[in-house]
Every structure is written in C-alpha cells, then in structure tokens.
C-alpha cells in the first residue's frame, strides 16, 4: 500500500513520544538528594 510507510511513521512517532514521556517520568523523577547550591538562573 502506498500509505504503509506513512502509517509506520505515525505509529512510530506516537510510540516514541510515549516512551520518552514514560522514561522521563521514571528516570528523571524529582529526587530528594543533595546537590550543589543552585546558582542564579537566567531564563
């Protein structure tokens, strides 16, 4: 089918974003640990 690759792209993108979201929630959850004092932040 001419649209097969488009479907792969769409599904793959959604799955990738979901995976990234899950990894960030699990691996980068805020932890209580000692860090260096936070310096002045520029935004």
């Amino acid at each position: 089918m001419a649209t097969t690759m488009l479907v792969i792209w769409l599904v793959g993108t959604v799955l990738s974003l979901a995976t990234i979201y899950a990894l960030l929630r699990v691996w980068y959850a805020p932890e209580a640990e000692e860090e260096e004092p936070r310096r002045e932040t520029i935004e």
Binding site: A2, L6, L17, I20, L23, W27, E31
Partner: protein, 512 residues
Amino acid sequence: MVLETYLYVGLGLFTLLMLVLGYLGWKRTENIADFAIASEQLGPYMLGAAFAATFFSASTFVGYVGWAYDFGYSFLWLYLSLVSASPIALIVFAKRVRRTNVHMGSVSLPDWIGEFYDSNLLRVGIALAMFFNLFYIAGQLTAGAQIFQVLLGWEYINGLLVITALVTTYVMIGGTYADIYTDAIQAVLMAIMGLVVFVSFLWVFDWGVVEAFGQMSAELAEEDPNLVSILNPESIVFYSGFAILSIFILEFAFSAQPQLFNKVLALDDPANLRKMIATYVVLTVSFLSVTFAGFYLRIIDPTLDLADQAIFIYTMEFFPAIVAAFLGIVILSAAVSTTDGIYVVLATAISNDIFRKFLVEEGYVEMDDDRADVVSRYFAQASVLVVSVISFLIVLNPPQYIAELVWIGISGVAAATVAPVMIGIYFPNFVTRKGAIAALVTGVVGYIGVSLFLDIPSVFVEGTIGLILATIVMLLVCALTEQEANVGVASDQHKMSVSRENDSDVSPTIDD
C-alpha cells in the same frame, strides 16, 4: 523584488540582533568556563531550546527536505530516528554526565573524557577528533550561501563569503552566552516555520484534511513507486535494513556530540534535566514537520537538479514574499545556531583542552595562570578564523547533498567519542584508560579507512561501522586490562574528595 526587499530588511535585522546578542554575550564572558558552558547558570527551558536549535541545523531545513524530495517516504525513517533514538540517547547519558560533572567541573567533551579517564592523551586525542566537525561547519556555510543564491540571486561565492564573515564575527565576540541566547530565539522561529510548512498542503493542493495523506501517496506513487516504498533502493541512505539501522545507531550517538554535550554541562541544576529534555523533544517534532515540503514539491515539480533547493523553491512559489523571506532568515538562524556551537567546541578544544589543560598544566609551555588565560583566549579566537577558512574552502564548490557532508563530520566525531562516554558512564567500575584510548584510535582509523577504501553509499553505514569497531575494541581491551587509579568510579571519588578539600576553584580570568 518584494521578496528581495523583505529579505534585505530581514537580514539586516537578523544581523543586528546577532551582533547585539553577541555583544551581550561578550560582556558576560570573563573566563573559559563562561565561554564554554556559560558557567552553568542557564535554566532548563532556554537550554532545551538551545539544545534543539543546535541539534537541528540548516541540514534539517535544506538538506533533509532535499532528501525527502529525492527519496520519498523512506526518508521518514530518519524522522523516526530523530524522535526516538536521539532523545532516548540524551535521556540515557545526560543525567549521569551532568552529575559526574558536578564534581569534575569539565567545560567540554574532551575535557570530560580526559578527566574521567585521567588521561591527557585522551583529552588531546578527543580534542583533535573534534576537527571532523569542519565538514559539519562547511555544510552549514553552504546552506547559508544557497539562501543568498536562490532567494536573492547572488553569486554563490558572494553568499558564502557573507555567511562565513557573519558567523565568524559573531562567534569571536560572544562564545556560549551568545550561542545560547540566539539559539533560544532561533528555536522559536524554526518551530513556527516547521509547522507552517507542514500545514501548507491545505492551500497548495486541493486536498481535504482527511484525504490528504492518501492523495499525496497516490500522486507520489504514480510518479515513482520507490517514492512511497518503505525502502528506496535508489537512495544513498535508505536503501536497506542495515542502512536504516545505521541511521538509528548514529542518531543515538549524535546526542553525545560535543556542541550538544556542553549544553548539558551548562544546565544550572541537574534536577532540571527533565524540563530541558521535554522542551527539546517538543521542538523536535515542530522542526521536523518542515521536511514534508520535500514530498509536496516532488508532486508539483519533480525536475529539480539540486534537491537541496527544494525548500526555497517551495516557499517562493506558495507563500507570500514575506513568509519566503522569513524562511530565509529561519534557515540562516538554523545554520548559525548550530555552527556557532561547533565553533565554540573547536575553540575550546584548542584553547582549553590542548593548550591550558595539557601544554600549560603539564609544563610543556611555561606560563603563569594570568598569561595563560590571555593566551588561551587569543588561541580560541584565532582558531575560529582558521576553522572558517578551512570550512569555506571545503565548500567552494557546493556539494550534491548538504546532509551527506554534515554527516561525514558527525560520524567521525561519533566514532571517536561515543564508546568512551557511553560505556564509561554506565560501567565506571569496568572501563580502563587503555580501553578508551584503544576505542579512540580504532574509531577514527576505522571510520577513515571504511570511508576511503570501501564502496559504501551511506555515510550512516560508514559511521556505524567505525562506532561498532570502537565499541568492540573498547569492551575487549577493558576486559583484558585492569582499571587504573583515578579512572571511572575511582575518578569520581577522587574528584569529590579534592573538591571538598579545596576552596572553590579560582577560574582563570580573561580580561578585555
């Protein structure tokens, strides 16, 4: 005529903005830590935007649209790798690298590797490997030159001279503060452009929203079935399963590129990495939307000789002149936002990694700290000039595919650096200095050898082979050798005890 007017005005404003921000960055830059990583004072949203803007260069807007145009849907594998492999790699390494650097205090990738493995040979070797990035810079300069050539009708050489002069001046003034300030702004511009181009099918074609993809596929398939196939055997990069796998492997490796690595080092608080990464991923999806212009233009006009011109032709045809001018500025931004990051990497490699941390600290050059600061700053600025000249010469004749030129550079750096970094941060008890050195040599020699002597169409495959060889050799040598003192975990503990004993480091100051 209208387009030209808008473009000249836009270019004038852009240049002014860059020089103002460059000046502001220069005022904040007092020492090499400021120059290289803005002394770790920048917040997650700005750094996430800067990371994204540095990651996606003119290669995305010009080169990848060109590949989408020439190779069709198989290009979408690259899109997928950029929304999966690269962000996941960043998630995998950023936290550990940033935490180790809290105590190590490195200002660059070569410096970090040198500290982690307690090896000046690695520091200098990795710093030299950074010069593969000359090809990366050359790719951006030629993309910038094509803006002037296609949108304004200039001679290519004049456009190349102007873009080279503009970026060189800007980088010499401002260093990383300037880099990140402008990156954040450029990220917003790039995101807007990407999304606008993606939805442009609504007015360019007679398709409705629902049937758009079906219609697009039918028209591309009618022209050439390879344009809608999962693999395109006629493409130079999407022709086989292993070629696709190589793309994912190298895009994974790409997140550890030094000009991105130093954004991780620049984050004020490691706890903010989540926000930084999320910002970068959201922007990634926005930026990459622009690549659909390649598919759209292929349907309309399949006769382009230079596929890299597709994005310019498309916007000039189907957008108001002011939008086409805006695109020109955005592409210029994309080129500058990446190029200035790489210039900083190369300047830091020479002035800090090789000169200060090796030649001066090891006593090969006898010089007190104050004088070394001044001299290293001159080296940093002089190196920017030298790099500009060499990159300019590389693209005196425009390449067939900008994206291919860019990946020659990325692949070389990846082959040299990824194994020592990734294996080191995850197996700090296992790695050895000898293993890392072996990986560096194998990666570089392997990549160069494969590129020169094997007839492989895909630059991704060449880079992957170099990277795989480096990884295998590093694992073998580490398994066969004993971990040296001050390497890996021992290195962390040593650095932690040193930093507790000492007062805060006296950073070298570079006065105007």
